[in-house]
Amino acid sequence: MIKENKPNLSQDEIWREPVNLALFRKPQGKVHVIAERCKECNYCTNYCPNEVLERSTNTNSHGYHYVQVKAGKESSCVNCGMCQTICPDFAIFVTEVQ
């Protein structure tokens, strides 16, 4: 039988403080691509929550259209790390912009 996972939260966990927008800064990341390793699987382009990435029209020496940051999206990376975690080829990573 397939059961649903029911969250079992206490009152304390449900009652959250509202975010203080004056103190909160959206994190920013810088994308690094090791173009020679990219195999064009498109996992990072599809799973980036901010649609920062796209396939380049250029190819690496193995013939794959490697990934690049979309024009105009240079400051849209929120440093979530999804692209780095999901890349099977160690071809992309992010660093935090302070």
């Binding site: 059961k3 699987c41 940051v69 990573f93």
Partner: protein
């Protein structure tokens, strides 16, 4: 964007061997990264981690980790690891190998290591077929699947690996997919702390073989299938967690077993102590 050459995990990789041999969209690179991240966080010194495999695409994985690693013969990762652990109990010995390697040719070694509660972490990368040799079916191929050796559909029932491992007495049992890298990494970290036999199954796309034969146009399509059709249920009844996507069944993930029973190494120490007393 910049074209940088040094990946932040490169110190844990044999960087000079990259790009690796795996196909575009193959999930094995995600398994490798997850293992490295778990080992890094484990609190166990890296020189005490040993990574062992048998034969297959998955079995190439230790060759990319910058640790002491052994690529053994087909199906024999577990016996090799068992010998290494008994000879040097200070080591954290992990076997990462394929479904075919661990459960077809090597199936007997698995059941006996679990029965003994041998102090090992065994990770099975289940891509539902023999990837390396061209996508033949095996004991983990779901019913009705197409493969290069079942062109009219697999008539066999497949192993329900978590149920099997738990029934034999594994101390820790979990299942994830490479679409769940964070949960999978956490689970590996936990499993590295287990005294006894820990088993983690991870489902992974094999785009040119199982994927292509079963209607996934590419790795992404298989990843999407895992994302949309998986449910996490740590309390699942294990007899119900078999994988049967061709008959509309959801894939059940989770950390199913985490229970303490004396491990082989603990019992061996105890019996050695008693033997010493008798000898004196």
């Amino acid at each position: 964007m910049s074209i940088e050459e040094v990946h932040p995990k490169s110190q844990f990789l044999r960087d000079e061997r990259l790009p690796h041999i795996w196909c575009p969209g193959c999930g094995l690179g995600i398994v490798l990264q997850s293992y490295i991240n778990a080992a890094e966080k484990s609190g166990i010194r890296l020189e005490n981690h040993v990574l062992i495999s048998g034969i297959g695409c998955t079995a190439r994985l230790p060759g990319y980790a910058n640790l002491d690693t052994y690529h053994t013969t087909h199906g024999r990762g577990i016996p090799f690891a068992t010998g290494m652990k008994i000879a040097n109990p200070d080591l954290k010995v992990t076997v990462i190998s394929g479904d075919g390697d661990l459960f077809n040719i090597g199936g007997n070694h698995f059941i006996h290591a679990a029965r003994r509660n041998m102090d090992l972490l065994v990770v099975c990368v289940n891509n539902f077929n023999y990837g390396m040799t061209g996508g033949q079916h095996g004991s983990t191929t779901p019913p009705s699947s197409l493969s290069s050796s079942t062109p009219y559909g697999n008539i066999e029932q497949s192993f329900n690996l978590p149920y099997l491992a738990a029934a034999i007495g594994a101390s820790y049992v979990a299942r994830w997919t490479v679409m769940h890298p964070r949960q999978f990494t956490k689970s590996l970290s936990k499993a590295m702390d287990i005294r006894g036999f820990a088993f983690v199954e991870v489902l992974s796309p094999c785009p040119p073989n199982f994927g292509k034969f079963n209607g996934f146009s590419d790795g992404f399509a298989e990843m999407e299938f895992y994302r949309k059709n998986s449910v996490v249920d740590n309390e699942a009844k294990l007899e119900d967690v078999s994988i049967d996507p061709h008959h509309g069944k959801q894939i059940i993930l989770g950390e199913f077993v985490n229970k303490r029973r004396p491990s082989f190494i603990e019992l061996e120490r105890e019996v050695n102590r008693r033997a010493m007393v008798v000898e004196k």
